[in-house]
Amino acid sequence: MMVRISQKTAALLVLFIFVSVVPTSAQVESATVVVEGMACPFCAFGVEKRLKKVAGVGTIEVNMAQSSAALTASAGDSIDVAGIPAAIRKAGFTPGTIEATAVGTISLEDSERPLLMVDGTDQELLLVNLSAEIWQQAAGLGAAGKRVRVRGPLHLHPDEPAGLEVVRLEAVD
């Protein structure tokens, strides 16, 4: 039995399918935090348990040798990086360096304070310690309004945008 579909319905259907299959990238896609004081497998469980409660965290992989935990955002979510240090402290340990990978657009409204406007959130990350080469690249991508992926160590400050040291910067297709 043939089912007749109007052109309008077909167009909506195609649009729906297209929207559904477009990948929704995580905004703070991943973060790796050094957990100072973690020195046995039994302790690792408490760290994992606490980090799972950080908003946006999907999976956690603790690496004992590195004393670190690698967090990956759940699909479509952004990791609330500001919640990571508190989670580590509640687990009874001391948070060390946090390295994050974030996706967003670069705002150059204040040319001395380039910001990464994290996709889909009201989170802003201040891009810091840019080399001349990366600064030039950032300026170009920012001016073009392109989405970028930035990776580097995070510096969290209360009442201020977190600073993200740019170790790697690339345009996102």
Binding site: M38, N63, G92
Partner: protein, 321 residues
């Protein structure tokens, strides 16, 4: 009469047959209680025979179930005493804050004392819940670095008299130390220092227990110094993820106990100094720790007449949730 002996034997001394035996019974069971306390510290991370200062995550719970056998024997007296104490301490730990952890320890006892009486060979037995210990530990000092930590944690505790303290059998009331509970509220305090790295760990604990009077009986106060060294044996190199660790363990428990008081008089067959050395092994995973140790007495300088410890075997399982 054995049932009277718990109050009288200390005055009789060693020259009077049955009453001497009762005095020894008291000393023996006191020793077992002492050892029990040695073994049931709320360990949750590394050492087997006492606590450590390592963290319990806020909102995290740990349950530890141990199985212990304490054997005493080689009695040179005509009583031919033979004491076996089996204990299953169930330990629950809860992280109230990141620094404050609360512990509850509920011991299940099975005590069997065999002795030769004028009526023949007899066994005096008792089993059930002993005194529950509640304890709070606060991490006062903490210095962390990647793969290592140093913690200092004082603790305060109280023994709640939940155990039966007036049990009797066909021979009469059991001597107070053979009872499941003391009937008294007892208090302890101490400090634990833990230094842990990925390769090894050291724990040292100094503590003191104040015992109080119940049933006209006061157990002697107790001071102890515990030390533990753990060395990671496997894996030799830590790979990715969270591999299970196998530790070789060597622990030491040095315990001094004051003499007991019965009806206001000092019991000469009680108290003294004991030093145990305990080799052991631990298998540590993310959620479970399996461990075992055998405590061997290297020094037993006990007052009066007392059976000496042969050995103490401990098996333990810990799980976190």
């Amino acid at each position: 009469m054995i049932d009277q002996g718990s109050h009288n034997s200390h005055r009789v001394g060693k020259e009077s047959g049955a009453k001497v035996g009762v005095g020894r019974i008291i000393a023996v069971v006191m020793l077992s209680c002492c050892i029990f306390l040695t073994l049931t510290g709320p360990a949750f991370a590394a050492s087997i025979t006492f606590s450590t200062a390592l963290p319990v995550t806020k909102g995290q719970g740990i349950v530890r179930v141990q199985w212990k056998v304490l054997e005493f024997g080689e009695d040179s007296s005509s009583l031919e005493r033979d004491l076996t104490v089996r204990v299953v301490p169930v330990v629950g730990v809860w992280g109230l804050t990141r620094r404050l952890a609360l512990f509850g320890i509920a011991p299940l006892f099975d005590k069997n004392l065999g002795l030769t009486t004028p009526l023949g060979r007899r066994t005096r037995s008792v089993s059930g819940l002993g005194d529950v210990t509640l304890l709070a530990r606060y991490t006062a000092y903490q210095r962390d670095a990647p793969g290592k930590t140093l913690r200092i944690a004082p603790f305060l505790g109280v023994d709640v008299p939940t155990g039966e303290d007036n049990a009797s059998d066909a021979l009469g009331r059991l001597p107070q130390p053979l009872q499941l509970g003391s009937g008294a509220w007892d208090y302890n305090l101490g400090t634990i220092v833990t230094r842990q790295t990925l390769d090894w760990q050291i724990d040292a604990s100094l503590s003191y227990k104040f015992n109080t009077v119940a049933n006209d009986f006061e157990f002697g106060d107790e001071a102890r110094f515990d030390f533990s060294y753990q060395k990671r044996l496997r894996p030799r190199e830590i790979g990715r993820g969270v591999p299970a660790f196998l530790y070789g363990v060597l622990e030491s428990n040095l315990i001094w106990q004051d003499r007991h008081e019965i009806g206001g008089s000092t019991d000469p067959d009680s108290g003294g100094v004991i030093w145990y050395l305990a080799p052991g092994i631990q298998h540590v995973r993310r959620r479970v720790v399996l461990e075992g140790a055998v405590q061997i007495p290297l020094l037993q300088n006990l007052h009066g007449a007392a059976l000496e410890t042969d050995f103490i075997a401990t098996l333990s399982l810990r799980a976190n949730f």
